[in-house]
């Protein structure tokens, strides 16, 4: 996933942009973490007769989480390819 074009920004601005990217990434990974917990909890836990997760629920949450991470990585690969192809096409159009 390539970032937006950074040329045309001064060094100070690039610094600022980099820090903004970092802040956004932290925020985004926290959000992803929260969403993952919510999703796997919703799909795996449905009985509330005890206050602790039983072995089946725990395993389900683990597999759910692993599966989501692998899925997310695969989508990331594809997303990168689409973005790259789109940028190439844009560059081609501007070159004409």
């Amino acid at each position: 996933m390539s970032g937006p074009d950074a040329s045309g920004f001064s060094e100070g601005q690039q610094q600022e942009l980099l820090q903004a990217i970092e802040t956004m990434q932290t925020r985004d990974s926290m959000r992803m973490y929260n969403n993952l917990v919510e999703k796997c909890f919703t799909d795996c836990v449905d009985s509330f007769r005890r206050k602790d997760l039983d072995a089946t629920e725990e395993k389900c949450v683990q597999k759910c989480c692993e599966k989501f991470m692998k899925h997310s990585a695969r989508v990331g690969m594809r997303f990168g390819e689409f973005t790259a192809a789109a940028e190439k096409q844009m560059a081609g159009l501007q070159g004409k």
Binding site: T26, V37, C44, R49, D52, V61
Partner: protein
């Protein structure tokens, strides 16, 4: 993580993000356990006994789920 002393404005941002994270976690716990425990007929404005104990167990299991996912993400990212 960095051994360097982070400058103070960055520490502020981190503290803010930590808070945002907690608020978001809390909100999702509220929504998830509401969906799991509360009868949508809303006949009564109070939580009945069954709902109350469901909420207690639901929050406990939600918190434990947070721990499991956190561990897996941690090892996955390291």
């Amino acid at each position: 993580m960095a051994s360097q002393q982070p400058d103070s404005s960055q520490a502020l941002i981190l503290a803010q993000q930590e808070m945002e994270y907690r608020v978001a976690l809390f909100n999702k716990m509220v929504t998830s356990c509401f969906d799991k425990c509360i009868d949508r007929k809303y006949k009564d404005g109070d939580l009945n006994v069954g709902e109350n104990s469901c909420v207690d167990r639901c929050t406990s299991k939600y918190w434990q789920t947070t721990g499991i996912v956190g561990q897996l993400l941690g090892t996955g990212q390291a």
